[in-house]
Structure formats: structure tokens, C-alpha cells
């Protein structure tokens, strides 16, 4: 447990515990994707993690403190290094640009303890992985974990082009029979119907990639009679920029203006109020917040709340959702 903040009566749970690290290596993989490797500043070993886990990276970008989740893609058995691979998003809020442009080898940074919201179901007889683009990262760690345990897996990895196929060479040279790669620019596509047809009982299906791909895989599997419990997906939403808006926090008696390029959660944290969180990407449900008063339109972007909750105007996930209107009062 981290030490409670001064003057607080109860220890606060805000995300996971933190680890100070030094950037030990930066490896550009292609035009868009770069790998960042970290070692602990205190020279000790990292906590173990399971394939599919992510870490939250704190980035001090001028006045703005960002915290973005990235899947750990190093070998879970390798305790002296954590690695992430980051795709540059020129139209995002700037977290990936910050990493790509400002972070250098030797910089110190803060990571959170790993949290896994996309773990392997180890009861599975076989693991079937579907990856799209940078969605390959959690599978890199899961594949290493499964190989160490003699697990059975098969990967179908779709990339835009050979030039942008991160880790394709590593995967296909080490696992020529298990790793299958498809290039959009060569008109190669995953034949999902055929792939799902005839998979042995006890197969678990995992998909990580763009939203369209996740929806397509989940829908196709459901129509083919795959139980929900056998289909796993990970989709972290990055908070999207939007119009600035004002919010009042009833419990703390504070008010703040949420900037165009910051999330509601980040603005709340800027005031020193610390809602719980784990993923900061609309998936884990930790930061769910009650709305006490509102006059305007919610821009719900999470996939945690139910549709009726979105429609009710009484709950918001401040990590990814925004608001446009006159008044917003939250129970924080």
C-alpha cells in the first residue's frame, strides 16, 4: 500500500502503486511504432505480470500530467525490464507524440504496477488470437507466457503493410506454424468464418485491435454459437479532445474548467481530488461517478456503463467521457 496522503483519515486507493523507472532503450520499429524499455531506478526487479497486463505511464508534458495505459509486451519472465510499444497518433491528445518526440534514453519516468484486464483464461485448451495493428502488443507477452508453459496458441495478425507490420519478423521466424500474418495492402484478410469453424471445444478467442475489428470478431463468434465466456477483447479508448467545459465537484466544493486536450478525470486530479482508476480507458469501471446535476449533453464514450445508464444522465466515466452544456455537478 502507498502511504496515505497527509491529513487524510482513510488510505486512498487511486490506481495501482507506482514504480520509478529509467528509460533504458528506445527502439524505432517502423514509421509509426517505437518500443520503449524501462529499468527500475532502484536497480531491483519488477513485479511479475501476466500476459495482457498494462501499465499506466505518467507523462509530465508542460503543465499537463498525462497517464496513458500501454500493454506490457516484454516477456513476463524477464523481471529486469518492462517494455511497451507505442503507435504514434498524430491526431490524438498528444500522449503518444510526447513519448515519441520528447522522451529520451536516461529519462526517469513513473509507471504503475501492472493491472490485467485482458488475461488469458488458463482453463482454455487452445488460445486463438486475433490482432489488428498495434493490437499485437498484449499478445506478444501472452505468447511468451504460453510458450514457457507449453500452451497451445494460434495467432492471426492483420497489418496495413509489411513496412508497418510490427514484430512480424520475430513472430514468423520463431513461430512459423502458429503466427499468421495478413497485409491489407496485398488484399489479404482474415477469413474469420472459416477460422472459427471447427476450432476444438475449449478454445478461447481473444481480439485486440481497432473497434471495428473487435465488433466484427465478437459478432461473428456469437452468431457461430461461441459462448461469451470464450470470447475476450481489449479495447482501451484514448480520451478524445473536445470543447472545454466547466464542472463543479459537490463533495470537495471545488470547480474546474476541463481543457480541450485534457480528460475530465485529469482535470479532477489537477484539483487534488483523486477518484479511483485502473485503466483510464473506459473499460474497468473504477472511476464511475454519479452526476448530481446537469444541463447539457453528455458525450459518453466508455464501454462500461449500460446504454440505459448513458441515457439516464446520472452517471459518467470521467476517464473518456465529456460534456457540452451549461452545468455539470459531480458527486466527487
Amino acid at each position: 500500500m502507498s502511504a496515505p496522503a497527509p491529513n487524510s483519515t482513510a488510505p486512498k486507493i487511486m490506481g495501482a502503486e507506482k514504480i520509478k523507472v529509467i528509460v533504458s532503450n528506445i527502439v524505432p520499429l517502423n514509421d509509426l511504432v517505437t518500443r520503449f524499455e524501462f529499468k527500475r531506478t532502484d536497480g531491483t526487479i519488477f513485479p511479475t505480470f501476466s500476459g495482457g497486463a498494462h501499465t499506466m505511464i505518467e507523462m509530465q508534458d508542460g503543465d499537463l500530467k498525462r497517464m496513458n495505459p500501454y500493454s506490457l509486451m516484454s516477456d513476463p519472465a524477464e523481471r529486469d525490464t518492462y517494455a511497451i510499444s507505442v503507435r504514434r497518433d498524430d491526431h490524438g491528445r498528444g500522449g503518444s507524440l510526447f513519448l515519441h518526440q520528447k522522451v529520451q534514453v536516461g529519462d526517469t519516468m513513473t509507471l504503475s504496477y501492472p493491472v490485467n484486464l485482458f488475461s488469458l483464461d488458463l482453463r482454455a485448451r487452445k488460445h486463438l488470437f486475433i490482432a489488428g495493428g498495434i493490437g499485437i502488443t498484449p499478445f506478444m507477452a501472452q505468447i511468451k507466457q504460453l510458450n514457457a508453459a507449453n500452451g497451445k496458441w494460434e495467432l492471426h495478425y492483420s497489418c496495413r503493410s509489411p513496412e508497418l507490420g510490427s514484430y512480424v519478423d520475430e513472430l514468423t521466424s520463431k513461430h512459423p506454424h502458429s503466427a499468421n500474418v495478413y497485409y491489407d495492402d496485398q488484399k489479404q484478410f482474415i477469413d474469420l468464418h472459416t477460422l472459427l469453424d471447427g476450432q476444438p471445444i475449449g478454445t478461447h478467442l481473444y481480439v485486440c485491435g481497432p473497434k471495428g475489428m473487435i465488433d466484427w470478431v465478437r459478432k461473428t463468434a456469437a452468431a457461430a454459437g461461441w459462448p461469451k465466456a470464450h470470447v475476450h477483447h481489449e479495447e482501451f479508448l484514448a480520451p478524445k479532445p473536445g470543447k472545454p467545459f466547466a464542472v463543479r465537484l459537490a463533495k470537495s466544493g471545488l470547480a474546474v474548467e476541463v481543457g480541450a486536450h485534457e480528460s475530465l478525470l485529469e482535470a479532477i486530479e489537477r484539483l487534488g481530488v483523486e477518484p479511483p482508476y485502473l485503466c483510464r480507458g473506459g473499460a474497468c469501471g473504477q472511476c464511475e461517478t454519479d452526476v448530481l446535476e446537469s444541463d447539457g449533453t453528455f458525450i459518453h464514450r466508455d464501454h462500461w456503463l449500460e446504454d440505459y445508464e448513458h441515457a439516464s444522465g446520472t452517471k459518467i466515466m470521467p476517464c473518456v467521457s465529456r460534456f457540452e452544456g451549461k452545468t455539470l455537478v459531480l458527486d466527487r
Binding site: D197, I201, A224, G225, W226, P227, K228, H230
Partner: protein, 200 residues
């Protein structure tokens, strides 16, 4: 009707639903005794289901067999007991592909054991449909000697292995596919309340 409304209980106690046709490449229905009625009902609603369905039935003295066969399922097997049917169930499961839908109906003992067989094949138990029909008898494990007594209808009952007087609990084990029976007179041997039928 062979249905019973189970009262609310502890979280460990399995709850059963109503069978419904779900999309799937193949369907496996396992039933004993009055469970046949649930299959007959489902087949009446969705007759085309049966052409892709393998039915495994344990009559336990009932005469539903010919009616089930008349549904013309893709495959039909009738066995004298669950134990006799188990090797076939295991074979069907090991040959099955994802997209198989599993439907279990009849007594709790039958559903629990067939669920266990499906779990061992790697099928998630939450995806298996169940519907209770017929007898309220339970498959009980003595927590003391670990022996299983099938078709227990009285509470308390005498363990068929070690002879202890056992109280019928709602505490259930999916791994063993049995409810737990706990000695009722451990502190005061011989002080055993009269047996009653479960839920009477």
C-alpha cells in the same frame, strides 16, 4: 408439469433456467427421466433444431424414449445410467468443435455431472443451459468420508459409505458435482431429528 420452484438460497446453490434454442453448429442435449419433457417442449417450439442435435437420454424407468426418438434427432442414444452414458458423453465432447450448444435437463445429479464433463472438456460452465425437471433427489457428498450417495431424497440421511447421519446442505461443489452432507449429530451422537423429504 414436472417443474419445481426452488426457494432462494445461498450463492453456492446452482440455479436453473429454461432451455432455449441458441445459434450453433451442433447441439448436444443430455436428459434423464422427466427432462425428456423439456426437450419435447423445445423441439415443439423449434423443430428444425433436432436435425443438428445429438440426444443422450437416461430414462430411469420412464417411457419417454420413443417420443424423443420420434423427434428424429441427428443422433439418439439411450443409456441405463449416467455412468453407462459417460464414456459416450466424453467422446462426443472431445470430438466437438466450438459452436456446440449444450442443453442439460432433468435431475440435479444428471445436470451437475454432465456440466462437470463439459467443464473438463474446456467448455465454460456459464455457457451451458440447464432446466430442472422431475425428482428433487440430490447427489450428495459426505464431507467426512468423501463418499457419494446418489438420489438422496431425505434430510437428514445416512451416508451410504460411512454410515454417519448427514444434514443435506445447499452448499454445492461444481468440481465434484455434488451437494455437501455434514454430520448432524457430531456433538451429541444419536440426537438426530426425524428425516423429512427435501423441500417438504
Amino acid at each position: 408439469m414436472s417443474t419445481f420452484h426452488f426457494p432462494e438460497s445461498i450463492r453456492s446453490r446452482p440455479v436453473y433456467g429454461r432451455l432455449e434454442a441458441r445459434p450453433g453448429k451442433a447441439h448436444l442435449m443430455i436428459a434423464d427421466a422427466q427432462g425428456a419433457e423439456a426437450i419435447l417442449g423445445l423441439a415443439l417450439q423449434v423443430p428444425e433444431l433436432m436435425a443438428k442435435t445429438h440426444v443422450i437420454f437416461i430414462p430411469k424407468g420412464t417411457d419417454f424414449g420413443p417420443k424423443l426418438q420420434a423427434l428424429s434427432p441427428a443422433q439418439y442414444y439411450e443409456g441405463p445410467s449416467y455412468a453407462a452414458a459417460l464414456s459416450r458423453i466424453q467422446r462426443v465432447l472431445s470430438d466437438a468443435a466450438m459452436g456446440l450448444q449444450i442443453y442439460l435437463t432433468g435431475t440435479e445429479g444428471l445436470m451437475g455431472q454432465a456440466q462437470n464433463a463439459a467443464m473438463q472438456a474446456g467448455y465454460d460452465y456459464t455457457a451451458i443451459q440447464t432446466e430442472h425437471r422431475g425428482s428433487l433427489a440430490r447427489r450428495m457428498q459426505c464431507v467426512h468420508c468423501k463418499g457419494i450417495t446418489e438420489d438422496v431424497i431425505l434430510d437428514p440421511f445416512e451416508c451410504s459409505h460411512c454410515g454417519l447421519n448427514l444434514f443435506v446442505r445447499d452448499h454445492y461443489s461444481r468440481r465434484i458435482a455434488a451437494f455437501q452432507g455434514v454430520c448432524i449429530d457430531a456433538e451429541d451422537p444419536g440426537n438426530v431429528p426425524p428425516s423429512q423429504e427435501i423441500y417438504s
